[in-house]
Amino acid sequence: MTTNIAKPKPAIPDLPVAVLLAGLSIGFFAVVALVTGETAQLSGEGIAGLLQRMVALGLVALGQTFVILVGSIDLSVAALISAVAVLASHVMQGDPAMMLPAVLLCLGFCAVVGFVNGALVAYGGINPLIVTLGTGLIIQGVLAASFGVLQGAVAREFQVIAYGSVLGVPYSLLLLATLSLAAGFVLDRTLFGARIYAVGGNPDGARLAGIRTERVILSAHMVASLFAGAAGLYLAARLQSGTPWIGRDGIYDLESIAVTVIGGTILAGGKGGVAGTLAGVLLFATLDAGFNMLGIDAFLKQVLRGAIVIAAVAVHAVRTKGHVA
């Protein structure tokens, strides 16, 4: 019984979706840059700028991939990002000595939120949409109510995360790359990863196979919250100080779900992976950059983005056998 869950192969191969999507995105970006004469965007600096557009959403989406793979979902990430950014700048107050305590406190807070989300979903049996919508509202409310006393700015040294680079490669990209590799490794090569696929693909089967499904769901939620925390810390470094609306204004909740699903991860859980999610994030980044170069009207952009989200998912979803809701 335990053998068939040890190494689950995704039914839809993860890589082709990711490669196709990434290829299309890069092609779109290159063509737009050439057509509009913005060839400077194809230089090293331009490409680094494009990839930097991926970092915040990419970090959130990596975490979202974990919860979606396990058959859950997390809408509280947007509020959590705001909370972390505000908390980090409040604790640091520009003092480099407070960097480590602030980071630890923020990640600790994220772990608690992830634990609460996970516990309510896994042990309370409450629908994850409602749980995370609720916790998101709670965090957002407390944050907005106490923002007046939670002001401050991160330390200059901390902003290196967002603005520093080595050999022309921004640290933030290295951070995203490292965490992506780590997430990919965990999902593909570890027992925990195998369990995530097993629980998402067939919870009853996983339980019969002796997996404590509740624990796996809870852990996935903690992973998602920690990744949201990483995104919040990155944004705090980039924006110097957090405001209680950066998560909501960035629509990181719905966008992280959208890119994950565009990347081929199935909402029901059990199929998908990190590569696809990153390709989805790259698509969104190239759309942002490309629409800028084309000078597309802000409202029209929204229309196009809506249509592209549907089309991008439809391309691989249409082959699904059976029903989706």
């Binding site: 409450i126 929204q302 196009l304």
Partner: protein, 327 residues
């Protein structure tokens, strides 16, 4: 009073239980309002409460159809916004065109519902993503069309649908037209689920689409129709919203999540299989009573969000707990 069968597997439960979840919360919250502000117990203010709650209740009824079949409709807030902006641009202050435009708005709504339904049923895109896409698309269209700000004008005969209040009505004192629209819509929504074969089909599809299909239920048609009903409810709510307070570009913002929350508070089960029109109606009334109560308490605005979050989780947690205990 009849309710639809709860799930294909379980026994038909008495109507009492389906009503209880939302109704109990609503009565408790409204009692608290009455305790703080006794004049809210007068018929006049209760009618005014209904007038303001009407759009949310109607949206919740529409959302319930989609929830019963196992999906979500995130696009309804955007549709309501589109309706308000489109009505004001198309009517542009000319009362003679009001009814024709309202007809056109329903056609527009039905088409959006059809698109949602087709994408979900045939392209197999999960409804949460499909309707997220149409939400962006419809919102963008509405803003592009209006240029990003309110345009045109709504004549009185349109505004009346959400604004008119008949005074000196016997027994109840005052009667808002919106409350009449609300009653009519709820009756239709109830009939759709209880007076026709559709209700059983929707529950069957939401509970287990594969089994429903094998039993001969037209799964795709059932899904598509749910999205059409949902969009029609969004158009109706949009008309009432525009009537109540006039044109604005954020008329429908956030209403989709409130409608989902309302259904769930009222006892409907996400991903299908359980729920009745009463869960939507009383869930929405409860949510609106909660907003009013928090307004009356005069808490800092931001904390009201937090309390809403707590209530949401608590309501659903309590209903989960009841269900488990019963089984």
């Amino acid at each position: 009073m009849m309710t639809v069968p709860q799930t294909s597997a379980s026994l038909r439960r008495p109507a009492r239980i389906a009503i209880n979840a939302g109704l109990v919360i609503f009565i408790a919250l409204y009692a608290a309002i009455g305790f703080l502000q006794p004049n809210y117990l007068e018929p006049g203010l209760f009618m005014n409460f209904l007038r303001r709650a009407a759009p949310l209740v109607i949206l919740a009824c529409g959302q319930l159809y989609v929830i019963l079949t196992g999906g979500f409709d995130l696009s309804m807030g955007a549709v309501a916004t589109l309706v308000v902006l489109a009505a004001s641009i198309l009517i542009n202050g000319d009362p003679d065109t009001t009814w024709a435009v309202i007809g056109a708005l329903y056609v527009m709504g039905v088409s959006i519902g059809l698109v949602n339904g087709f994408v979900v049923a045939f392209l197999k895109v999960p409804s949460i993503i499909t309707t997220l896409g149409t939400m962006l698309l419809v919102n963008g269209l509405a803003l592009a069309w209006s240029g990003g700000a309110a345009r045109g004008d709504l004549p009185d005969n349109f505004r009346n649908l959400g604004r008119l209040v008949w005074r000196d009505v016997s027994v109840i004192g005052t009667l808002p037209l919106a409350a009449v629209v609300l009653a009519g819509f709820v009756a239709l929504a109830w009939f759709g689920l209880n007076g026709t074969v559709y209700g059983k089909r929707a529950l069957a599809v939401g509970d287990n689409p594969r089994a429903a299909e094998l039993a001969g239920t037209p799964v795709a048609a059932t899904r598509i129709l749910a999205f059409v009903v949902s969009a029609v409810s969004a158009v109706t709510a949009g008309i009432l919203l525009g009537g109540f307070s006039g044109v604005s570009v954020n008329a429908g913002e956030g209403l989709e999540l409130q409608a989902i929350a309302a259904c769930v508070i009222g006892g409907a089960q996400l991903l299908g299989g359980r729920g009745s029109v009463w869960s939507a109606v009383f869930g929405a009334l409860s949510l609106f009573a909660l907003f009013t109560l928090l307004n009356l308490l005069g808490l800092p605005q931001a904390l009201r969000d937090s309390i809403q979050g707590v209530i949401l989780i608590a309501a659903v947690g309590a209903s989960m707990w009841r269900t488990r205990r019963r089984n």
